[in-house]
């Protein structure tokens, strides 16, 4: 799978939810994230404590419109969320407090993603 493949992200996020602590955190905060992958990928999915759902089954706490390449770098910790926002690689729609909560949620997502992500070119 390449970075462009949305399934890479959904597989990683499903794997992250097997971490009981992470799932509990989402449930406790009643927090959900809708990812809208822009560009050729052009797809959307929603992550909540129950799983990863296709499309937009319900309004999310925070909606992230993001280029797959930027999401790849954010999850691997190579690009900060605010830098991605400033550079317009990522648009966050929803209360700003939701963006702050991302700081707690990204590390477990990133760890799961790192297990599946393609190796950097040249590696």
């Amino acid at each position: 799978m390449t970075v462009q493949d949305p399934q890479l992200f959904t597989d990683a996020f499903r794997a992250a939810l097997t971490d009981a602590e992470f799932a509990a955190l989402l449930k406790e905060r009643d927090f959900s994230l809708q990812f809208v992958l822009t560009g050729d990928a052009g797809t959307a999915f929603l992550l909540d404590s129950d799983g990863v759902h296709d499309g937009a089954p319900r309004p999310a706490s925070l909606r992230l419109e993001v280029r797959p390449e930027a999401l790849h770098l954010v999850l691997l910790g190579r690009l900060g969320v605010t830098r991605a926002i400033v550079d317009r690689g990522l648009v966050a729609k929803g209360p700003v407090s939701g963006v702050r909560q991302l700081a707690d949620l990204l590390p477990p997502l990133g760890r799961a993603y790192a297990q599946l992500a393609p190796a950097p070119s040249g590696a």
């Binding site: 605010t82 966050a92 700003v96 702050r100």
Partner: protein, 420 residues
């Protein structure tokens, strides 16, 4: 000779009173969140009891006089840490809260609003960066007992709009440079008209990394203003906004560690766009406050002043003026509230709404202040009258954070899909 016949209209409500009466019937779309309503009431009290009694003296004082006592009172209220998250000790307000607070202060003194607004703007880069190391170094001073100010240093002698319009980046000339020297950068250049520059502890300074044409390498540096090589110049003797000090800041071989860069080398333009789109709704709120302040004075006078046996407001010509003035204020407020709400719910903030709000409110402030002076007449033309000051200040907001010309480009850019 000026005729002086007046009669009071008892218990006439202010615009704020009318709005409060209507709030019960307002759908939630137009109601402020409870924490913002609470802040508005606190700041209104601060504006009326602390700022208003000092406004005239501060306006007539020498250009370089600064009212630290007033700033300290605002600091006790939390105005200098308004946007810091509560977990860091701040008041946790977003753009909406700041905008509403600024309208209240600007309704009695726009330049006092700008003292607080410019400091918050300076902090924004450090807050928004999410860089915990920068936050730990530069935010704690705002939490202490003593009031501390920040500032944002963009404008230069040869570059005002050239450092606000991204398409101008390559054409900008003689912009402040930042030259790498090991793990430091060396800043050289001069910033002009920097609000709070004379009194701030540190500045978010925009400089072009050497070797990049024009300002294409624009980068944000956090620079303590007591750094070696920084000189605070004379205070500009301005037409209005006299309570806040606009100053030249000269940087000569100022060494800044690379960890003081916010948003990375060359990240200045992208950040500047985000910052401007957030700040414009706040400036629109300041203009709304100026218009409101002028209107309330004109309304009071039109209720008291009797000509041809009846108060001015019963004369159709004046009634029409008052009605149009209040309509412009209500429209300005709705536009800035909408824009601020957008900025609080979308990162990066959109271009269109805040630019439209600022363009409308800035113009409305000038028109309302002018009409207020025409209603008050000879008294309003005198230096010691608040309307005279409000007329002068009404022109200020259309210069900073985007002139009408810059806003027009932003708005049409959004309309044609070039800037969103």
């Amino acid at each position: 000779m000026i005729a002086t016949t007046t009669t009071a209209v008892p218990n006439a409500p202010t615009l704020s009173d009318l709005r409060a009466l209507d709030e019960a019937a307002m759908p939630s779309l137009f109601r402020l969140p409870p924490e913002v309503e609470e802040l508005r009431d606190e700041v209104r009290d601060f504006a009326q009891t602390v700022v208003k009694p000092r406004t005239l003296a501060n306006d007539l004082a020498p250009a370089d006089a600064f009212d630290w006592e007033m700033v300290e009172a605002g600091h006790r209220l939390g105005l200098l840490r308004l946007t810091m998250p509560k977990e860091l000790g701040g008041r946790g307000m977003g753009v909406l809260g700041v905008a509403v607070a600024m309208e209240e202060i600007a309704s009695v003194c726009a330049s006092t609003a700008l003292i607080f607004g410019a400091s918050l703007l300076g902090q924004t880069s450090v807050l928004f960066s999410g860089d915990q190391q920068l936050q730990a170094r530069f935010l704690p001073p705002f939490l202490g007992d003593r009031p501390v100010l920040a500032c944002n240093a963009i404008t230069e002698e040869t570059a005002g709009c050239d450092l606000l319009i991204p398409e101008h980046a390559e054409l900008a000339e003689d912009v402040m440079t930042a030259r790498r020297d090991g793990d430091h950068f060396v800043l050289d250049g001069v910033k002009r008209f920097i609000t709070n520059g004379k009194v701030a502890e540190w500045a978010a300074v925009f400089a072009n990394i050497e070797g990049n044409p024009g300002a294409t390498g624009l980068t944000v540096f956090v620079v303590p203003l007591d750094s070696e090589g920084v000189t605070r110049g004379a205070v500009a003797d301005k037409m209005g906004y006299r309570a806040c000090l606009g100053t030249t800041l000269t940087f000569e071989d100022v060494r800044v560690p690379e960890e003081n860069i916010v948003f990375g080398e060359g990240g200045g333009w992208n950040y500047l766009t985000v910052q401007s789109n957030q700040a414009r709704s706040i400036v629109a709120a300041i203009s709304t406050g100026v218009a409101r302040g002028a209107f309330e004075i004109a309304k009071e006078w039109a209720g008291e002043r009797v000509q041809a046996g009846k108060p001015l407001y019963e004369h159709q010509f004046t009634a029409r003026k008052l009605a149009e003035m209040s309509s412009k204020i209500e429209a300005s407020r709705l536009l800035y509230l909408q824009a601020a709400h957008q900025a609080d719910n979308m990162l990066p903030a959109p271009v269109y709404g805040p630019a439209v709000a600022k363009m409308f409110a800035d113009r409305a402030a000038i028109e309302v202040a002018e009409e207020a002076m025409s209603i008050v007449g000879a008294r309003g033309y005198c230096r010691e009258h608040a309307v005279e000051k409000l007329v002068r200040e009404s022109f200020g907001a259309r210069i900073y954070e985007g002139t009408p010309e810059v806003l027009a480009l932003a708005i049409t850019g959004a309309l044609y899909g070039r800037r969103l």
